[in-house]
């Protein structure tokens, strides 16, 4: 019972992750669908099919777990898509809305499934959408192209009982699920029992899909093989279920792609395993050999499909025969002695290996696969290789060039990566400890210093590699914006197109997590405030469709993300007025630089919108943008030209864990200032300093006047120097928060591994984190922007 529950838990977890991925890929496609439809009047068939398939896969997996709400919703969506496929000109924006809503609902259901293991509680919502979907379907089936008054989501609140026809459909699905899970030996292989036209589907299989199919099937084969091998030793219901599931999934996939032979084979294998599982017995040697050969045959066949060749499985009939025989024997309760079966297979496998070199001409086989084949042969016929090693060798050789089929990606637990990163951090600290130790005087020994340089180089490289392992492409985040732009544009009654550039750009996982919200706000602003209405655009002589571009690229240790629109640009006068009104700037500042004016919009509560709409206007968004980007130690620049557009450029350092820092000392305390915040440091002469009546010291440096902040006063430390001309002034500037910090002395520049402040301390003014110094003590890392703004706040 426990293991059952565990198994289900695991399956549900897999299902949820997989389905979320599916949903992520379906949304951009739905949007694409609309775009092609509006561009050419006809929806692109390929995209339509892809959306269809994605919903279909969702339904399939949901059926396996008996998640009725998802099944019914996806089914309805499928029906709608099917109709659209037959009648391509029919597509309407409402349809797209519906599909988007469907995917939203499924996402919500998935969240619930993850928490409570069932999809109950969404019936009402599901029915609502199903209703809408059906309303869309009905006129569609009647080919009523004009179709007046399709119910829009906002106006239709009535719910309808499911009609009898639909009930029947549910029953059919239910019975299918029952059939699938009951594992009864079925007389004829019937694949996935789906109502769709398979031949039509197969025609539209893209190479990309075929590749994914092959990869997935290979993975399944490998899993099944592993489980089978352990099953040989002990009876284990869980393992046999696992193999069963693998075969079942293979069958489903193959059926979907129209590979009848794989479908047949896996179906028969499934029967065998069904019996084994029911009786909870170990898999005897003979059965095992057959099953392993089946797996090999499937994975070979699948590999051939990636080359676009649909080749017959050479010993297909033989395998089918053996499987049927085993099923019969198992059913009659008689298990043939291993030896005769084995001989049977031995011969067959030997034939098979004779086939190998010839087959390779058409069939690229991955190196790992080759090993799998060999190991399977090993088991069945240990001396085949010894007898004729040439066969295998030549086979292996020919398999080499096809190594592109090998799984090049492995999944690693994020915790392991974080641990590795931590260790790398420790390594950097330890290295600093060694190199800074007074016992070693690097300058005295050339060989020694060379070795240190080498060590430094290697540890930096390790650091880079470790960081890069946490990097993921921005594509996921960017693609979500497609949907956003579409929804926003519809709401605002504008025509907006989103262009995505550089979605392959990889950034640290933390950046992905933090960047999503700012992007949403920036894009909202661009669509809501930036892009003008259609009429305004026409008047301005622009194309009716506005354009928003998001772009990502790497540049000198930073990642740049820009959000650009070709709208009306920021209104300098309006922003400035508002700034005066809010007391952020004074009337006299009228001539301030554009950039400084733009910066005002990041102030909390700043909004020039006369009316608060449900999209924007409360003045919260830009504040979120600024905060999140500051959290990532990023910078934000705005460029805007009236009538041409606005560009927000976000620059974020690639590594978040390690910075170059300047270590300074005040009294007994050491602080670290990020090098990126330091402009220069100097010892002032007394004539450079002016003192205001409030005793605020102002230092003049090349025509600029900067306030002096005495760190010892700010942090109540007993300093070595109180005389400005004896200590050091550091000109710091972070996000235009400028001042001169007065400290006792500079200790030196070094690489700093950032550690968060202990949670117990909560937030500390002007401190962003801490670091372990070369001597093992702790140093505080300063957050210049926070420090300066806190001083300014105190003053006012």
């Amino acid at each position: 019972m426990d293991s059952d529950l565990e198994e289900r838990l695991e399956m549900v977890k897999d299902f949820v992750t997989e389905s979320r991925e599916l949903l992520e890929s379906v949304e951009p496609r739905i949007i694409d669908m609309e775009r092609t439809a509006t561009a050419s009047g006809v929806v692109d068939e390929e995209i339509l099919n892809e959306v269809f398939r994605l919903f279909h896969s969702l339904k399939g997996t949901a059926a396996f777990l008996d998640l009725q709400t998802i099944i019914s919703v996806t089914h309805e969506a499928e029906t709608l898509l099917d109709i659209l496929r037959k009648n391509k000109a029919f597509i309407k924006p409402e349809h797209i809305d519906l599909l988007c809503r469907t995917s939203d609902l499924i996402r919500n259901i998935l969240d619930a499934v993850e928490r409570q293991l069932t999809d109950e509680g969404f019936e009402a919502e599901a029915e609502f959408i199903i209703n809408d979907l059906r309303n869309a379907i009905n006129p569609a089936t009647e080919l009523d192209v004009e179709r007046p008054g399709i119910l829009s989501p906002d106006t239709d609140n009535s719910t309808q009982e499911p009609d009898p026809e639909q009930e029947e459909e549910y029953k059919r699905i239910e019975s299918m699920v029952a059939r699938v899970t009951a594992t009864v030996a079925q007389p004829e292989p019937d694949g996935f029992a789906e109502p769709l036209d398979l031949t039509e589907m197969v025609l539209s299989v893209t190479p990309e899909m075929a590749r994914r199919f092959a990869e997935e099937t290979q993975e399944l084969c490998e899993e099944a093989e592993m489980a089978l091998l352990s099953l040989e030793k002990t009876a284990d219901a869980e393992l046999s279920s696992q193999v069963f599931r693998s075969f079942h999934s293979i069958k489903g996939n193959a059926g979907f792609f129209g590979y009848g032979d794989i479908e047949n084979l896996s179906h028969l294998a499934e029967n065998v395993l069904g019996i084994i599982r029911e009786r909870n017995q170990a898999c005897d040697h003979a059965t095992m050999s057959v099953l392993l050969s089946v797996l090999d045959a499937i994975s070979n066949k699948v590999l051939s499909t990636t080359g676009g060749v649909n080749q017959a499985i050479p010993n297909f009939q033989q395998l089918i025969g053996s499987l049927e025989k085993i099923t019969q024997e198992l059913e009659s309760g008689y298990v043939e002695t291993a030896s005769s079966q084995e001989q049977d297979l031995a011969g067959q496998n030997y034939d098979d290996s004779n086939f190998l070199p010839e087959r390779q001409e058409h069939k690229p086989v991955a190196a790992t696969e080759a090993q799998a084949v060999i190991s399977a042969e090993d088991k069945v016929l240990p001396d085949a290789r010894i007898e004729d090693p040439g066969i295998v060798d030549s086979a292996t050789l020919q398999k080499q060039p096809a190594s592109s089929n090998v799984q090049q990606v492995i999944r690693v637990d994020i915790e392991k990566l974080d641990k590795l990163l931590d260790l790398v951090g420790e390594l950097v600290i330890a290295e600093a400890m060694v190199t800074n130790d007074q016992a070693v005087d690097v300058s005295q020994n050339a060989r020694f210093s060379k070795a240190f340089l080498q060590l430094d180089k290697i540890s930096r490289e390790i650091q880079e590699v470790a960081m890069s392992m946490r990097m993921i492409p921005l594509a996921g985040v960017f693609r979500r914006m497609l949907r956003l732009v579409r929804d926003l544009a519809n709401k605002a009654n504008k025509q907006v197109e989103l262009e995505i550039i550089g979605e392959d750009t990889e950034v640290d996982k933390t950046i992905i997590e933090q960047i999503s919200d700012p992007l949403v706000h920036l894009i909202r602003n661009a669509v809501d405030h930036g892009i003008e209405s259609v009429t305004e655009r026409k008047l301005a002589g622009k194309s009716e469709t506005g354009k928003v571009t998001i772009e990502a690229k790497h540049s000198a240790g930073e990642v740049w993300i820009t959000v650009e629109d070709d709208g009306g640009g920021l209104n300098r006068e309006k922003i400035f007025r508002k700034g005066v009104e809010k007391g952020l700037v004074r009337e006299e500042d009228r001539d301030m630089k554009d950039e400084d004016v733009w910066r005002l919009i990041f102030e909390p509560g700043f909004s020039t919108a006369e009316q608060v709409s449900n999209i924007s206007g409360r003045g919260v968004g830009m504040d979120v943008v600024r905060r999140n980007i500051e959290k990532l130690r990023g910078k934000l620049d705005i460029r805007s030209k009236p009538g041409i557009g606005t560009m927000f450029a976000i620059r974020i350092p690639l590594t978040l864990a390690i910075i170059e820092g300047m270590v300074i000392r005040v009294g007994h305390n050491r602080y670290i200032i990020p090098i990126s915040s330091i402009k220069e440091s100097f010892r002032p002469k007394s004539d450079q300093i002016t003192c205001t009546p409030d005793n605020l010291e102002i230092v003049r440096i090349r025509g600029e006047l900067l306030p002096v902040a005495r760190l010892h006063e700010l942090y109540h430390i007993d300093p070595k120097h109180k005389d400005l001309t004896k200590g050091i002034l550091i000109y710091v500037d972070s996000n235009d928060n400028k001042c001169c910090l007065f400290v006792d002395e500079l200790i030196g520049q070094q690489q700093i591994v950032i550690k968060g402040l202990p949670a117990y301390l909560k937030r500390v003014r002007g401190i962003s984190g801490c670091a372990i110094m070369g001597d093992g003590e702790v140093g505080m890392i300063m957050d210049i922007a926070d420090l300066v703004s806190s001083i300014e706040k105190n003053a006012s």
Binding site: L761, C770, I772, G776, M780
Partner: protein, 166 residues
Amino acid sequence: MGAREKFEADLLEDEEEENEDTQEDKYLTFVLNKEDFGIEIRYVTEIIGIQNITEVPDMPLYVKGVINLRGKVIPVMDVRLRFGVEERPYDDRTCIIVINIDEQPVGLIVDRVLEVLDIQKSEIEPPPKMRKGKNNKFIQGMGKVGEQVKILLNANRLLFDEEESA
């Protein structure tokens, strides 16, 4: 599950139970300003000697700063200052008791550490009802050990009670 794994699982379970058993009613006792105090042993992760402390700005007086404990930065609190007792220069008997509550390790600076004592629940009296000052809230109970009395502290309040002690 094979027999071997099963045995191991059983063993592990036993061990856990034992751990819980052994932690019950045990207190780490320490001296602070001539009085003996105790803290439940289940909170204590380790005891280390005093080491260099890095000051953190803007902290309440009793939070002395942070230390590096094998690569981890943990805050340390001077329990004397927490009680509003005058500071005393650290010496070689001054210890830091590292306790861990809600995954938050904090070091407690005490004059010196004594021993681990078994104090049965029956031997613990509630905190005195009569109040004098603000420190009563930190007391969980008064443990009687022979002729002596140990003041048993409420670790949670010690760490997280926000109100400033005088």
